[in-house]
């Protein structure tokens, strides 16, 4: 039999060949317009002096001037690099101070997140059965709560004069049993003046810790559930104590998740903005003690109206984040 007719396919508006590309295109279109293009444009802008509103023709070529202006290296006496005066000089320069603040808050808020989340997750994983979901939900709640709303409440709680936190802390500190105050060394007996600038970064760090410790706990808990039970059974047969099981099984098995969670914390804390911004009412606190780099960048753009410099800050910060992420990869990444 000899085939005679060759069928023409019905016309469809979407052929099988092109459908996948059409289906994935929304992301790429949106990213090109609202992600890639502005990014490239900001590289360009960072080389100019520009207020962001006047026509593009008004842009003034600066070259790397904006970057040098941000880094503010002139006048630093590098021969005195090991003296306190040198670092005070560095701290007085906006970009470096903001970077220092970011790192300080990042570490003081970030490290305890993991140091507490890991044992907490292990404890919840092994000890809780029925109450587990409830406990977890409570710890997770801060993570999904509107930052602005809850941070404003924290502001009230940290008030020196009427603040609940002072009342609670001094209450514990002054608590006496037979004329002896057992907690007076660990807790304050007098109200703490939380409004002093030295306290501001601590408050920010506490709020950040409070928001994310539950998130990290949940991450570690999820990882714990994937550890095969027979590892522990084998260890118990060998007579390993719970502590040795933790050190020799749990921690090594958690390592990929520790890497992942620390990376998330690192990237998140380096772009810290909402909590310090709201806690300090957008000012960065007295003497900008809690102004993070992202806040500094926005201040340069919105208050100073200097979009060229703000873009330069963004890219300097980006390089810094990239550097730290790379270092994190070198140090913590599990080797296979």
């Amino acid at each position: 039999m000899q085939p005679t007719e060759r069928n023409r396919p019905r016309k469809r508006w979407l052929s099988k060949k092109w459908a996948p590309y059409v289906f994935v295109s929304p992301f790429f279109i949106l990213f090109a317009i609202f992600g890639l293009f502005p990014l490239l444009f900001s590289v360009y802008v960072s080389l100019f002096r520009w207020d962001g509103v006047s026509p593009l023709s008004q842009m003034k070529w600066e070259g790397f001037g904006n970057y040098l202006y941000v880094l503010e290296l002139e006048g630093l006496d590098f021969r005195t690099v090991f003296t306190q005066a040198f670092w005070q000089d560095v701290y007085s320069r906006d970009f470096w101070r903001s970077l220092y603040n970011t790192l300080w808050i990042g570490v003081v808020a970030g490290l305890p997140q993991h140091l507490i989340a890991i044992p907490l997750a292990v404890f919840i994983h092994t000890q809780f059965r029925r109450a587990r979901n409830g406990i977890l939900a409570i710890y997770f709640l801060p993570f999904i709560t509107q930052t602005v709303a809850i941070v404003l409440v924290f502001q009230a709680l940290f008030s020196a004069k009427f603040g609940v936190i002072n009342s609670l802390l001094t209450g514990i500190g002054q608590w006496e049993v037979a004329g002896f105050a057992p907690f007076s060394l660990m807790f304050p007996t007098e109200p703490v003046d939380w409004a002093r600038p030295q306290k501001t970064p601590w408050i920010v760090a506490f709020v950040v810790w409070w928001r994310y410790v539950g998130w990290n706990t949940v991450l570690y808990l999820a990882a714990l559930q994937t550890i095969p039970k027979d590892l522990y059974e084998a260890a118990r047969v060998d007579g390993a104590s719970p502590w040795r099981q933790f050190v020799h099984i749990t921690l090594p098995q958690l390592r990929p998740m520790i890497f992942f969670a620390v990376t998330l914390t690192l990237i998140g804390n380096l772009q810290l903005f909402e909590e310090p911004y709201v806690l300090t009412a957008g000012t960065g606190g007295i003497g900008q003690v809690a102004e993070t780099s992202a806040m500094y960048m926005l201040r340069v753009a919105m208050t100073d109206g200097d979009f060229g410099t703000a873009s330069a800050v963004a890219w300097l910060l980006f390089m810094f984040v990239a550097l730290l992420t790379w270092m994190n990869n070198r140090v913590l990444k599990p080797k296979d």
Partner: protein, 358 residues
């Protein structure tokens, strides 16, 4: 009833390596054709190319006298029953059956009538409003078949449809499929890796190996006259014993160091014999030392009830020889030495390339 014609079919995903190359096959109108072969042999790929689910890299597929290469799966007039049934879990049985008609733009009343008719034929009319989840494996299978029938296709395509069923149900469904084919008379193509399924269902069988068809024929043709070693060993269970033959001298073949036997076929073809094949059911055991037999010793015995399978070691061969004996005129035990021979006229011969010689 529609014949199918596959001409010079080739399939390649990257343009260099071919999964199927230069394949030709004519499937007759109303025929039940089975594609059988080990996994990865290209049989399912070919079926999917016929269905339109895989692009045809080279060659032409024609249904009747129309080439369907460019047509969408839904337009070819083929219906497919999948290994996993692939019923839509969110639709009722009735919706599952009618979905194809709906998408082809068939009016609602007509759709319902078609669905009801098919449901009655397959005896699934009482579960039309249930979801697939609540059905048993056999019932799902029936719905999957019903979904294919309802569209009144020119060709039925089955992709290992019984492999998810348990053994008893599989036998029952096999019988039902055979009856269905008789009833509808439609061309059917059935893919399986199970040679028993192939032998019982197929009017003709195409044996696939490495993207090529090794042989096409009726079940008995494949069993009795395999064209090469691959087909010979693929069809039949337990599989055919193949023994290397050497020293084709004075009309006798030397089989390893187990002895010699007379050349079973006439000259001059016999000079090319490199191996002989004996199906386990054609093995005959004599007293050890009987002339024209091979020295062998029993290593293991399996009693199947109706038959006994013996595993024998013959001198110099690294593979054991399997023998399937019916009736129990003699009891063997491990360690017994015997003389191994083949039923007259049942021995297969192959040349060095593996092709059968007759």
């Amino acid at each position: 009833m529609t014949p199918l014609s596959l001409k010079k079919i080739g399939k390649s995903y990257d343009g260099r390596n071919y999964v199927i190359r230069d394949l030709n096959l004519e499937i007759r109108a109303g025929e039940f054709m089975v594609f059988v072969g080990p996994s990865g042999c290209g049989k399912t790929t070919l079926l999917r190319m016929i269905a339109g689910l895989e692009e045809i890299s080279e060659g032409e597929v024609a249904f009747g006298d129309s080439v369907v290469n460019e047509l969408d799966p839904g337009e070819r007039g083929a219906a497919m029953v999948f290994q996993s049934y692939a019923l839509y879990p969110h639709m009722t049985v009735a919706e599952n059956l009618g979905f194809g008609l709906k998408m082809s733009g068939v009016a609602k009343a007509e759709r319902e009538r078609a669905v009801n008719d098919v449901a009655k034929v397959l005896q699934i009319d009482h579960m039309l409003s249930s979801k697939p989840k609540s059905l048993s494996g056999g019932q799902r299978q029936r719905v999957a078949i019903g979904r294919a029938i309802v569209r009144n296709p020119k060709v039925f395509l089955f992709d290992e449809p019984l492999s998810n069923l348990d053994a008893a149900l599989r036998v029952q469904m096999r019988i039902e499929l055979a009856r269905l084919h008789k009833q509808l008379g439609t061309t059917m193509i059935y893919v399986t890796h199970d040679q028993v399924e192939a032998m019982t269902l197929g009017q003709r069988i195409a044996v696939f190996n490495r993207g090529r068809i090794e042989q096409v024929g009726t079940p008995l043709e494949l069993y009795e006259r395999p064209e090469n070693r691959f087909v010979a060993q693929f069809i039949g269970s337990p599989k055919m014993n193949v023994l290397a033959a050497s020293g084709n001298e004075a009309g006798r073949l030397k089989i390893h160091s187990a002895g010699t036997i007379p050349v079973p076929i006439a000259q001059p073809a016999s000079s090319a014999i490199a191996a002989i094949g004996i199906r386990p059911e054609d093995v005959v055991l004599h007293e050890a030392g009987t002339p024209d037999t091979l020295a062998a010793s029993v290593t293991m015995i399996e009693h199947l009830g109706d038959a006994t399978v013996l595993y024998l070691e013959i001198d110099g061969a690294d593979q054991p020889v399997t023998a399937k004996l019916h009736g129990s005129n003699k009891q063997y035990s491990p360690g017994d030495t015997v003389g191994l021979a083949c039923v007259d006229g049942k021995m297969h011969c192959f040349n060095a390339e593996g092709a059968a010689i007759r």
